[in-house]
Symmetry: C2
Subunit: 466 residues, 2 copies
């Protein structure tokens, strides 16, 4: 596996000669710096007066488009907007449409200010990016669209604006200056997933049952989206995350996207990256442990169970709570591999992350009808390093960790003694938990493992009682 | 239909005030200039000494990447290269692989210097463009790849370079510093065509029967590719075309891609565009009438018939031979709509064209399994105006011409008297010719029509005798 890294060099590193920097980079990630160090950017630092306290404050990475989008209507305007929607044509949202309203409203998709109009849709579908008025380019790999059916289209008629109605029947948003265009599902699916095989979870759940039209426009969200599931406190917006990073004086933010329980191999990797960033001269790298909170496929571990498991990992000290922020990323999951990993990375730029960790086969899954991975496991990482609009982000490739039978712990895989290592896949992990077996000692912190065992055993009990 | 145009303003136009220019643009193409005039670039003009003779000479548009790629081995090195290939592993080319060798060798795909390696393939597939080392972007919407099978891969082993062998058994080229990677056909097809439905001509003919690996590398072509079909004189390389434009003192070159016979509606459009360019201040706009010469589907009119028909159109004076260059574009046809039209436009930049005419549903076809167009007929034009790397090209949208029953000639469609107009599709045209019927008077010049009738009647006779 070839490792690549783009170094975001600190002023300390910049005092080194060109050759020393390359050697340092090489020694850190065992890479060929001639190929891989693309752009060295000096981070803007603002020294506080009291330099003894090592209070170096950094400006965080700029959100896409320069300004973080925030589409929540200010409290002062809420009543007048609520009155306005009364007379508007109504468009009903599904649960997953609501997740997108949430995502757009908080600026995860900055500079996108609403559901895509056709021009944005076509650029996203064909180029995975949007060209801004000044000629600059932002990444936008997934079409973020709202589908409506013939009947709704008829009801809208020639209206300029529509009201969006949540699954509970309450008006949650206004879509202004709308544009309605055809929803060619086959083309959307083929260009997004690189296959049209039946059995893609997001396609089956969201696209196939949806209408034959797409409606784009500018979004105004009447109040922040809440789920009342006991986890809203973890749903930090990009603005809140940026504030948190600032308040912790983060000078590097490295994001880890996940939709699985955290095992000690993940923890090893994250702690290792932190160590490397410190060696590179960063004083206070903060980890954004960022589980995806929207739609996932049926056999993924549910969000509430994962959140409990992540809490245990922090309580156990496997990850350091002082330098880790756990928050929920509200996007639904597409399982669209190299196309989707760009979205996962791009959204984290908007939340203030300037380093993004990418592993084997990100956002991938098994091919729905053939016995193989849907995507080449290396393509996600490769596409991410090439993607338009993501060149300002530092891509940190995942080192593969596995259970080291000689050391009885999770360790970075050493190909020179491959036979010592045991790869514990998600499927194998689930099998252990379902059978109430323990994985090898040191695979996961015991309290975290307990959460999983309880979840799988109660699901089995539930299934049995049905 | 919304029309868009990017104006390449001459110095004459630049003497007008901002408002006047916009009004002129608006009157020419009936467009909203606020939306559509994106970048006004003054063409670099070199005035010759004898200004009375109106000898204004323009530098042509720069090829993608700055330098026109030319991969034909110089005569002086041919013998030594020919000796070198003797010991190389051999890769057999199909007829269509040879068309790509031709295309790449002459620089139509500049800055591409060979069949794509994986990094270029992935960028083409996901982003329709390649990022150059200096951060600039060139358009590259179709993967230009060479497929090999397991057996060939085995034969190549760890060779660094291979020899490419044409269908007649002669070594035509060397591929240097090769890279072999997986050919995921399903993903390639889905992302290129936006469908995986069976019955796409290029897929059935080229991709499905091809091997499961792709081989990329730098191409050295041992001698210019010739077809010996009596049409090689029309196969002008981008270098030759540029020379021809220079020698004619062209100050604007407008390209018209086609794979159908030219009727008087096409001629009306091309003559109209020339007139508009003259009104805009260009002194000598040259039309590149540029029929595609590579693979086409079975029911398209064959190249030799089309070339004969085009000759008649020029002989008849329907198009002016003084200001028109007819040449063959050697690329095979994908019928991949909005993805392919970018390739068609990009290749013409390399040949020196700075204006590109785009019509309804470019490179489109009927959906192979459903009763509808495969692509939205407006998407090609829209995608073209948005495509990365094509912003330097001026896109001229096609005005729709149809047979005007009131005037008994081809004319621009006037929606206010729609009932007067007859649309003669390709299918209808073929039906007329097959039945030996004449289309309405003024649809096509009689000598050009005769070529088509003779072709269809001889094909029918051939079929009947089988």
């Amino acid at each position: 596996m070839s490792l690549t890294i783009k170094l975001h060099l600190t002023s300390q590193l910049n005092n080194l000669g060109h050759k020393s920097k390359h050697n340092l980079a090489k020694s850190i990630y065992n890479i060929n710096p001639l190929i891989t160090i693309k752009k060295c950017k000096v981070k803007q630092r603002i020294k506080c007066n009291n330099s003894n306290k090592n209070m170096i404050k950094s400006s965080l990475i700029e959100p896409d488009g320069g300004t973080l989008v925030d589409l929540i209507v200010p409290e002062s305007q809420r009543d007048s907007k609520m009155a306005e929607v009364e007379s508007m044509a109504k468009v009903n949202l599904t649960r997953i449409d609501m997740e997108w309203v949430h995502v757009i409203s908080e600026g995860w998709a900055s500079p996108l200010r609403g559901f895509m109009r056709e021009s944005e849709y076509l650029q996203s579908l064909h180029f995975n990016c949007l060209r801004m008025e000044d000629g600059s380019v932002v990444n936008m790999s997934l079409p973020i669209v709202l589908a409506i059916d013939d009947e709704t289209k008829g009801r809208i008629g020639s209206s300029l604006h529509v009201a969006l109605v949540g699954p509970l029947g309450d008006c949650v948003a206004i879509l202004r200056s709308i544009e309605i265009y055809k929803h060619n599902k086959e083309e959307r699916i083929a260009r997004t997933w690189g296959t049209t095989a039946p059995g893609l979870p997001y396609v089956d759940e969201v696209i196939t049952p949806s209408g034959d039209w797409l409606i784009g426009g500018d979004l105004e969200v009447l109040k922040p989206i809440k789920y009342s599931d006991g986890l809203d406190n973890y749903r930090l917006s990009p603005k809140q995350l940026r504030k948190e990073f600032e308040s912790r004086n983060a000078d590097a933010v490295f994001a880890f996207q996940l939709r699985n329980p955290v095992h000690n191999g993940h923890a090893l990797l994250m702690n290792d990256i932190r160590k490397r960033l410190l060696e590179m001269g960063y004083k206070n790298p903060i980890l954004l442990l960022h589980p995806l909170g929207g739609f996932t496929k049926a056999d993924d571990v549910p969000l509430d169970v994962r959140m409990e498991q992540h809490s245990k990992v922090l309580e156990d000290g496997v990850l350091d709570p002082e330098t880790t922020i756990v928050a929920i990323f509200p996007s639904p999951m597409h399982y669209a591999g190299p196309t989707e990993v760009q979205w996962h990375a791009k959204a984290r730029i908007n939340a203030g992350a300037n380093f993004y960790i990418v592993g084997r086969d990100p956002a991938g899954m098994a091919h729905p009808t053939e016995k193989r991975d849907l995507y080449d496991p290396d393509h996600g990482k490769k596409v991410l390093t090439m993607a338009p609009g993501l060149h300002k982000l530092n891509i940190l490739p995942f080192k593969v960790a596995a259970y080291d039978n000689r050391e009885n712990k999770m360790a970075f895989f050493d190909p020179t003694r491959a036979k010592d290592f045991l790869f514990i896949s998600g499927t194998k992990m689930r099998a252990y938990a379902k059978n109430g077996e323990n994985p090898p000692n040191g695979f996961m912190c015991p309290s975290g493992w307990k959460v999983l065992v309880e979840y799988y055993q109660s699901s089995q009990a539930e299934e049995a009682s049905q």
